[in-house]
Symmetry: D3
């Protein structure tokens, strides 16, 4: 059976920490779909289309990695793309509690999809999108926290 | 002295986890008042009246358990109904930190009311109202996370 | 039905934090049995008999509170004394994780006994027996962390 | 080299816990600047000017302690006032995870500024501005959680 | 490249929680080696040989799953068996902190081996070998926490 | 008043993480005494004398940093050397809970000494002496986790 994993998130923006999780786990799966969730409500930094475009640029040389956006429940998107794994990174104990609740509920709703976790590398532990977004909004230089060779200003 | 406990929360919606905490602790108290707090601000899934109606249906055969809504501080509601205990469930370490702060502040403001905690059963650990609300809003089937025999659509 | 709670622990020594939990919850139960668990292995500061004697002195004026020692599983001691509740205090998130595992396993082994938790008062949060034991062993003055009017040297 | 620390926060309101951190660390530094961050978005309880005025009243007899407001990134404010330290208090493990991410990112952006932490005294552990703000908004008496001799109603 | 994972642990005893992690992840790998670490020091409940025998019985019908014991560093055992993944289960935030440190150190020592994590199912969260060992040592019935159809008394 | 800080610990062995905390905080104090606590009980990897010798080598060019060993309570050692600060590093939320209890108890016993904390740099988060000791005992190469230019074999 083909191993299809989705890597769901808001990715506003996609950081060097996200990139690292995908690259470290690519050998585990046949396909990884970076899945940009569309949430109404809070004002995003980047449009969904910009996020998808930027992620596609990051992985433009990786045939196994694609990017798509989705609305609604993550389990419904898994059904739609025939994913059998969800991939997530965990940085801290606070992340862990949240990820556990989500993974256990998803497992109850769609038992055939397994959630698989990698722990972020130490140097990526403090990198989270909320902090990075705040730096960019205040005109700071966030390039060290973003994938290499990516010019975020092209996507804002 | 009569033992009156309130079980305060938003209950948007009231889940199978909430129900379990109330049922497991009913023998400790003479009366448990499920107290639906009214918070302005974020857009709720269910109206306060619907939440009270649903909770009343869940416990329609339990004379010791009633439901009411309240505005303002929980300690003021305790004074109003002569409660001497607050009952709360704790699922995770993240919950714990928040519950501890609230309980300790309440104790400072109203020392004669004691906060009593039960820990959720393992199978209810991931069930929290935020996740369940998200499932319902996206058209998913959340019935396994709600009290048995309750048709949530009647209350939306 | 009579409400009998055990308050199990090592109590080497019994601290002002333990005392507070018992006193704050005494109105909830008809009887509280402070249950000193006998563990082989690590070298204790106080003998089990000394711990029982000291706890009895602390509560000598409280008819509802007794003290006993026990060997073996806590659930077996509950069966022996017909307890229907276990009482525990929680100080920190680290405590919480441990207490949750124990309570959930006990619930699986003896479903009719419910574990009930109080959170320690803020000033007692740092008081744990390991640290207090270390102070006493090194000749420090630990009296502010022990029940009032108790002379620990009588029990060493 | 002069030791200049900023103590950044929202301080809506400034609590007895914040005051304690500043007073306990004043001997470590030549100057402490309590730095009120201006955030757009959520509706504050107190205006920024009121917060600065209240903090100035609290420390009116302390020459080493001043107060200022700032917009934008905390590292940029450090540069502006030549601060070489950031001072922060930590209450709980949940605080810790957040503080660690912020401190590590700030260190990456401005390596010459060191973040220094004190842990709150036990009695201040549950005091956080969100809870205190909620008490004040609901007409409760929060004076025991605010600096002594401060009449908050003057600043609302 | 063949995907070989080791699942290292003490497994004293191997529980229903361990079994679940292995079964849920078996489709991810070509081979899973349950690797029983030999630690001097604390007195075990079961001999290493008994642990291996019991685990072999649990997975006697699963060709992809084998069991072996090892001494020394886990990274050295990975080198010996050409493993490219380490598999671990995480139950709680307390587990998480420990697992993260181990995984990050292992990654530094042997970068080509990736640690992959599954989170335990809710009902297995409280099941840890220390508690189960304590039940067995005190003559309690731990069968509900052990793999089905396994008679632990054969292995003690 | 002279600012004298002790940096207490077991330091078995002293790691690159410990070194970083001392170097990052040296500008805050007039003197830092690295204080090697002597604990009976568990079998150490290095003798106390070796640990002191190694730490003295690490800081041989830093006049403000000295090293000493002590027995008994840390607060008693503070009194002996007239320290007015204790310096500690915190890596994780698990560390935090322990450090908080120790710091708050020390503050109760010796209020004039303040505990000051730095958070470890991200790359040092997983480095703890227990894991490093285990690597060395099993013949692994731990040099990347130890202070630069230190040959640990000289001290074993």
């Amino acid at each position: 059976m083909e191993k299809i994993a989705i890597f769901p998130g808001s990715f506003d923006p996609f950081t060097v920490g996200h990139e690292s999780i995908v690259r470290r786990s690519v050998s585990l799966f046949d396909t990884i779909i970076v899945a940009v969730g569309v949430h109404s409500g809070k004002q995003p930094l980047m449009s969904v289309a910009s996020r998808v475009a930027m992620i596609n640029e990051v992985f433009r040389n990786d045939e196994k990695i694609t990017c798509a956006s989705f609305e609604g429940l993550t389990v419904d998107f898994c059904r739609k793309v025939n994913a059998n794994y969800m991939l997530r990174g965990i940085r801290t104990a606070a992340d862990f509690e949240y990820e556990r609740a989500i993974a256990q509920i998803n497992k109850k709703m769609l038992p055939e999809v397994e959630s698989v976790f990698l722990l972020t590398n130490p140097e990526h532990t403090p990198v989270n999108s909320t902090i990075i977004r705040d730096i960019i909004r205040n005109g700071g230089d966030a390039s060290q926290f973003l994938p290499e060779h990516i010019d975020i200003t092209k996507y804002l």
